[in-house]
């Protein structure tokens, strides 16, 4: 890839009077999986929130396909799937309604494949049960079904493997690999040991040590 998909230049951010990162530079290209590592409190979540555009408490430049982020924010949002700590699932709505709402917001999603996505995460038969009746793991999987539904090319995943079993983890790893193989980009944090080929790592602790 000649041009990085997402480029970060001179990123500076502080939280509660503590500098999380200063002069952070990195880039990711199409087909790459980047794992952000670091201890608790090293700013992993903050970094992902900055990359997604949720947090604006930073200094530095972000570029999306070579353009400054502010100028292409609409295109960026179309190409982005963000999976955060919060599930983004309404407890009083059914899985189907939840995903229907997501599909209505994201132009890249195909609302016809909601049932298929729910089948993929093992929620077939729970389509019209309100989410507050589901277990914690099932609740999480409603949120994960977005990965099957979305056509976004950049995935930003913050701890996507919490509250799912081993089999589920292996399945998600496969999904991530498939996405990368198809030319997509994944940036994620996780406590799990990932078994992925071509995985790149970015350690925030080391950065903090050198700066």
């Amino acid at each position: 890839m000649a041009e990085p998909v997402l480029k970060v230049e001179n990123l500076y951010s502080e939280r509660d009077e503590r500098v999380l990162f200063d002069g952070l530079c990195f880039e990711v290209g199409a087909g790459e999986v980047l794992q952000i590592e670091g201890q608790n409190g090293s700013g992993k979540t903050t970094l992902l929130r900055i990359l997604s555009g949720l947090s604006r408490n930073y200094e530095g430049e972000l570029y999306w396909r070579g353009e400054p982020m502010d100028e292409v924010v609409d295109e960026y949002r179309q190409a982005l799937l963000y999976f955060g700590h919060l599930p983004g699932v309404k407890a009083t709505l059914t899985p189907q309604e939840n995903l229907g709402w997501y599909a209505a917001l994201q132009p890249g999603t195909d609302s016809a494949s909601i049932d298929a996505a729910l089948r993929q995460v093992g929620l077939a038969g729970y389509e019209d049960v309100p989410c507050h009746m589901l277990s914690a793991g099932q609740h999480r999987r409603v949120s994960l079904a977005r990965l099957y539904l979305s056509q976004a090319s950049l995935w930003i995943l913050d701890e996507p493997f919490t509250a799912i079993d081993k089999k589920g983890v292996a399945q998600k790893e496969q999904l991530i690999l498939r996405h990368a193989a198809a030319g997509g980009t994944v940036i994620l944090t996780t406590h799990h040991e990932l078994h992925l080929d071509g995985l790149r790592r970015l350690n925030l602790d080391q950065l903090a040590g050198t700066s």
């Binding site: 408490n57 982005l80 209505a104 132009p107």
Partner: protein
């Protein structure tokens, strides 16, 4: 770049603005219907506030009739304010607000749908219930029309302004009291013209002027408030 890149141009058109607005409104109404207590509580509050005044001030009909226009309006204002705190809070806590902010759809549409749903769930029932309060407070029959019309035009503005306060305080633990502090001064013009319209209706004066002013404020609110609400939401989620 394989299928992902090639898929994009065809799908970029995506849902239309009307489609997004309709989907958002549908979802918000559905959510409101599923939690019925949120729907009923402001109405009960509205009724209770109106009951306090005869008990606290005087049950004398002539006196109450004099106070009635202002009382019903103040009660409606407080009931709207009470329901405001929860407007974005649930969405903020379960992360659906994050997802809405990250969607490529214009935020003002989503916000406007949210406020409209809120008004359908509180402002509209308050307007429909107002004649009951008017009766309890001995509001003369000539004033009923003015009361309902002024509430119909005024309560959406209250929802719009209140939503700004709700958006600013959504990330804060002690949002409830703070939101009243921020929003109440901004409610004053609506209160003045709303109760003025009822008074005019009671005394048989023309109320077109009042209604026009309420309408103008509503128009201004519809244009400007969603911008402020959207900006406030982005700031609150960012912090």
């Amino acid at each position: 770049m394989s299928e992902i890149a090639t898929n994009e141009p065809a799908r970029r058109r995506g849902p239309t603005a009307v489609g997004v607005f309709r989907a958002a409104l549908k979802r918000d109404l559905l959510l409101a219907f599923r939690s019925k207590s949120d729907l009923v509580n402001p109405l009960i509050f509205f009724l209770m506030v109106a009951t306090l005044f005869p008990l606290g001030v005087s049950p004398e009909p002539g006196f109450l009739a004099l106070l009635a226009p202002g009382l019903v309006w103040v009660a409606a204002l407080l009931a709207t304010l009470l329901s405001m705190d929860s407007l974005f809070r649930a969405d903020f806590e379960d992360g659906t607000l994050e997802q809405a902010l990250l969607s490529p759809q214009p935020l003002i549409l989503i916000v406007l749908a949210r406020v409209l749903a809120h008004w359908i769930m509180t402002g509209l029932p308050l307007t429909l219930m107002a004649p009951l309060l008017g009766l309890m407070l001995f509001l003369p029959a000539e004033g009923m029309g003015g009361l309902m019309l002024s509430l119909l035009l005024g309560t959406p503005t209250l929802s719009l302004i209140g939503a700004i306060g709700a958006a600013l305080t959504v990330g804060l633990r002690k949002g409830g009291v703070l939101i009243s502090l921020l929003v109440l001064p901004l409610y004053i013009p609506v209160l003045i013209f709303g109760s003025g319209a009822v008074q005019a209706a009671v005394t048989g004066l023309p109320l077109a002027g009042y209604l026009a002013l309420l309408g103008a404020m509503l128009a201004l609110g519809v244009v400007l408030a969603p911008l402020a609400i959207g900006a406030a939401l982005r700031i609150s989620v960012s912090g």
